[in-house]
Amino acid sequence: MTKLSTKKCLLMCLVISLVLIVAGAFLFGFLGFNTDSTTQDYTSVEVADNGYMATDSAFRSSLEELCLGEIEGKYAVGNVSYSDFAGTDPHLEFILSEIVGDEEMGTFVEGLESTLSTETYGDTGRTYGEIADISVTYHNAVYAAHYEQVWRAAIAAAVVLVLLFAYVAIRFKVGMGVTSLIAAVHDVLLTLAVVALCRIPAGAPLVCVAVFAMLFSMFLNLKVFGKMRKDFRLDERKDLSAKDAIELSVRESRKGVFIASILAAAAIVVLAVVGIIAGFDLFSFMIAALVAVIACTYSSLVLSPTIYTLIKEKSDAARARKARYDYSSEKANKKNAKVEGNRPEESAGNA
């Protein structure tokens, strides 16, 4: 902003943001978000028995190992889980990382079932099928999207934006209210666009990231505008042009913005690293949150000041014009002159 003119800077910011948002929107329109493990459709292989694996954990582990080896020989396995219903109806579920066609899965399941009826368990001399009457099947599951959650969050966001504008316009300035509003919308859209563009896996909790982006954007923008509000009251800043005054305030509030952003980013990065070990969904969620932090920091230090500079320049110019052509005072002067002119007649009449 220091070297470029305000308009050029704003144009550049808007072009970058618009390109990213439009590209993200197109990609979302065509492909949607890259789904994480909680929201993706999947094919699973289910291995159930007559209840034996609920009582013998060694048998269950051995069965799981054998099935996993067989399945991984052909498909990538995303998750393995064991469930039972109060000790009855026990089953192992192997969720595949890909969706497999019915015919292929039907053949595979038959193969696995015959393997289990021929493979012997340990040194018992009996096959798995003989011991536990094992049944193997597969399922294809299609995820149903939560539209109510999305549209209600969108309505809530719209209400929050109106409240934000009203609050900032009253407590700060109308121009700052407009800018905070634009910045909050921009940050949410930019975050979602980058998540779509970078194909970061995202599920239902992505709505939480969007809300986080909005709240963090509000905080950082208020931080910058809070500094401006304080600085604009100082006598030494009153003579500065809008651009210089805003530039100075932004420079001085940069440290505070960075501290908040670094604090949030540090926690997010650590949890993302944990996610690599603990579960990939945590990693992708935290990466999306990190995108939000970066977008908010950028907008509060670059985009918002640029927008507000333009607004302030215009409002300052309008105020100056108003001060130069003070119609009200002119009218008052004319009126006074008229009254002055009439007075001798009135006094004469009175006499």
Partner: protein, 495 residues
């Protein structure tokens, strides 16, 4: 503040904070053979991403699993071996069912190998209705999946940290949400039996259903009638009170949702003793069935439910808690190094904040912590730390202008007051708006954020400042006070 008073306060506050810290974060341990100590953190209700959950698979009547089919096959073979097949008590499942993906469909639903359109339509209506019931239940996170085209798999979080209670809640919710049929107010015990009087449970008569705390008798389901509904209900209850049959049942199909004894003409609501979760489930169901498309005719088998581990991994919640703890510790060490005495006040302030947040998320029943909630806590913490640093920097700037330390602290806080109040006020308002309007994960995230940011406001504006004054009373004179907060002044050093 006097020095002695300050010492007493420091000792007391340190003991209290240490005690509450112990209660909050100590790992669970046994205090006797039967009793164990549970810290506040260990009783936080977690969403299914961080904590355990339950899932079920709804099988429509006439659709069975492979295990069930194999069981029928075994029964048939046993009957054949024992010569029972001729009696007709056991049918050949191969003649009754046809394999379809991972399930078996009754031949009644098939014509020339293709599924009948009528069954397809019934199932689609039931799928949409069940999906909307879980959506309306406002769970922190859940998922509904269409499995093998004709079964429905639903996953929900555990709604209580007590395993037995969570089991019961999950079972009740899975069963209740599979009820088919129309809503009916009657004294009959099933929709097919004829009662003395009846009232339809449609949107013409019912506006909505909600829950309310009924004190000692648990929670109540409150049904809000329309004016036409009030009149119809008054007529119904006056008929029942004057007849021999005094039990009013609220039926959904053949299932009894609510039951009440009518002794006199009743007005606009009926209540009964329930747990909060079961009352909310029934209220949600009533709200859904009075909407268009909220009911269906297809019957479902009583579902089995299964426990499932957290979707983010078995011990993710613990690891996340440890990481946040380590990060907080690093931040506090940094604060102590950078701001010295003020950093000490910040440390006490932040610990108070953290303990208050832990107490809120563990003791308020409405809170369920999900990944979104963790993000909300991180954000509120970052805001709190940032506001404290802002105040400390203002104090430093004021001191640099030549003011006394006491005056600098006063002015520093005064300068940061407007910003701190504005930030917290707008964020509390935003959090509340999200909590009141949004649903699912965002609602729970907003609740955690609103609580955390409100606590942050109190801790930043009052508690940390109080701690700073408390610690500032300790050094003997102004010079030592200045050294205590890590400031430097030439004149003071010369003195």
């Amino acid at each position: 503040m006097g020095k002695k008073k300050s010492v007493v306060l420091i000792v007391l506050i340190t003991i209290v904070l240490a005690g509450v810290l112990f209660l909050s974060i100590t790992p669970t341990f046994y205090v006797s053979n039967v009793n164990r100590f549970n810290s506040l953190l260990s009783i936080v209700d977690l969403g299914s991403d961080l904590g355990d959950g339950y899932y079920t698979v709804y099988y429509p009547e006439g659709v069975i699993s492979k295990s069930e089919y194999e069981m029928l096959e075994a029964e048939y073979e046993y009957a054949l071996e024992n010569g029972d097949s001729g009696s007709g008590s056991v049918d050949d499942p191969a003649e009754e069912y046809t394999p379809y993906k991972g399930i078996y469909l009754s031949n009644e639903f098939l014509e020339n190998g293709t599924v009948l359109q009528s069954f397809q339509d019934d199932f689609d209506r039931a799928y949409e209705a069940i999906k909307s019931r879980f959506e309306a239940r406002r769970l922190s996170d859940y998922s509904v999946r269409l499995q093998d085209d004709y079964t429905i798999r639903v996953e929900v979080p555990a709604l209580d940290h007590d395993d037995a209670e969570a089991d019961a809640v999950a079972q009740s919710m899975f069963q209740t949400f599979a009820y088919s049929g129309e809503l009916l107010f009657t004294d009959a015990t099933s929709s097919t039996a004829s009662g003395t009087a009846e009232m339809d449970g449609t949107s013409e008569n019912i506006r909505s259903a909600s829950t309310s705390n009924a004190g000692d008798s648990g929670y109540a389901v409150v049904i809000n009638f329309t004016s036409a509904g009030q009149e119809a209900f008054r007529e119904l209850t006056s008929t029942l009170s004057s007849s021999d049959s005094t039990t009013l049942n609220v039926l959904l199909g053949d299932h009894t949702l609510l039951s009440a004894t009518v002794s006199e003409e009743m007005d606009v609501y009926i209540t009964g003793g329930y747990t909060q979760e079961s009352a909310e489930t029934i209220a949600t169901l009533i709200n859904c069935v009075i909407r268009d498309g909220g009911t269906f005719d297809l019957g479902f088998e009583s579902p089995s439910y299964y426990e499932m581990s957290p979707t983010l991994g078995e011990h993710t919640a613990l690891v996340v808690a440890i990481c946040i703890g380590v990060l907080a510790l690093a931040m506090l060490v940094f604060s102590l190094i950078k701001f010295k005495g003020m950093g000490l006040a910040h440390t006490y302030g932040f610990i108070t904040y953290a303990l208050a947040v832990i107490a809120c998320i563990s003791l308020i029943p409405a809170v369920q912590l999900t990944l979104g909630g963790v993000l909300a806590i991180l954000l509120a913490s970052a805001i709190m730390v940032s506001c404290n640093y802002y105040a400390f920097n203002n104090i430093r700037k004021e001191f640099a202008t030549g003011k006394t330390l006491t005056s600098s602290i006063k002015s520093g806080y005064k300068n940061s007051l407007a910003f701190t109040i504005d930030v917290h006020a707008i964020l509390v308002i935003a959090g509340l708006a999200f909590y009141l309007i949004a649903t699912a994960a965002v609602r729970y995230m907003a609740l955690v954020f609103t609580l955390a940011i409100a606590i942050s406001a109190v801790c930043t504006l009052l508690v940390t400042r109080f701690y700073l004054y408390m610690f500032m009373a300790q050094p003997k004179n102004e010079r030592r006070r200045i050294a205590f907060v890590g400031f430097k002044r030439e004149e003071t050093e010369d003195d």
